[in-house]
Symmetry: C2
Subunit: 101 residues, 2 copies
DNA sequence: AGGATAGGCAAGCCGTCACTTGCCTGTCAA
DNA sequence: TTGACAGGCAAGTGACGGCTTGCCTATCCT
């Protein structure tokens, strides 16, 4: 798994609303397993998805560098990593009101 | 054209590499017309696209609130607006090294 | 050992999206 | 006023993405 992820992968990963919800879930509670994420997606976000669907979403997020995984026994924990998002602001600086043009 | 744009529209707009290149082009030189953007996409980014293709891309970007348009005679100028990007960081704070956990 | 649990692999379906093609509207200059 | 220029609308096509289904591997607990 390459440390340097392509910028397009980050945007592609963020393009799907389910994947954004997964990031929300990991923001609130980090280092969850695949099944934990499945359960919380259905119980808290009214999303009924197959385990494989969530697994594929997690693969996309990992390829984008937005999450890292850690295997421990038969469990695989998913850790949120928001550092790739910083590249967005370096590319297009956000102009807030009161800033110099 | 609503001022409040859906968050999903922003990510959908950023998902396409051509649209990201258009944002780059407007970052470097703001308030360009459709034809100017077409020319600069082909001459500076080796992208050969139809005028309609670029027009549709601009429509997506405008719907996402990332660009605003201003009609003047038969010209239509496109102005970059990066303020919708700020919502990304408010949603998932970027943790840089040296920050408190 | 053996069943239950956590996860992976691969093929197939269907909707969405990017792009093209063709034609139409509005504006400016000679 | 007529042609050239800037842009818009709409239908059609091909490819990619999200999701499912079915089956397989690995780890843990009696």
């Amino acid at each position: 798994m390459p440390i340097l992820t392509r910028m397009g992968d980050v945007f592609k990963a963020l393009a799907d609303p389910t994947r954004r919800t997964i990031l929300d879930e990991l923001t609130e509670r980090d280092d969850q397993t695949l099944f934990e994420i499945c359960v919380r997606l259905t119980s808290r976000h009214q999303l009924s998805l197959t385990r494989q669907a969530v697994s594929q979403h997690l693969a996309v997020l990992e390829e984008a560098g937005l999450i890292t995984t850690r295997k421990q026994g038969r469990y695989k924990f998913h850790h949120l990593d928001t550092t790739p998002l910083a590249a967005i602001f370096e590319r297009w600086p956000v102009t807030r009101k009161g800033q110099a043009p």
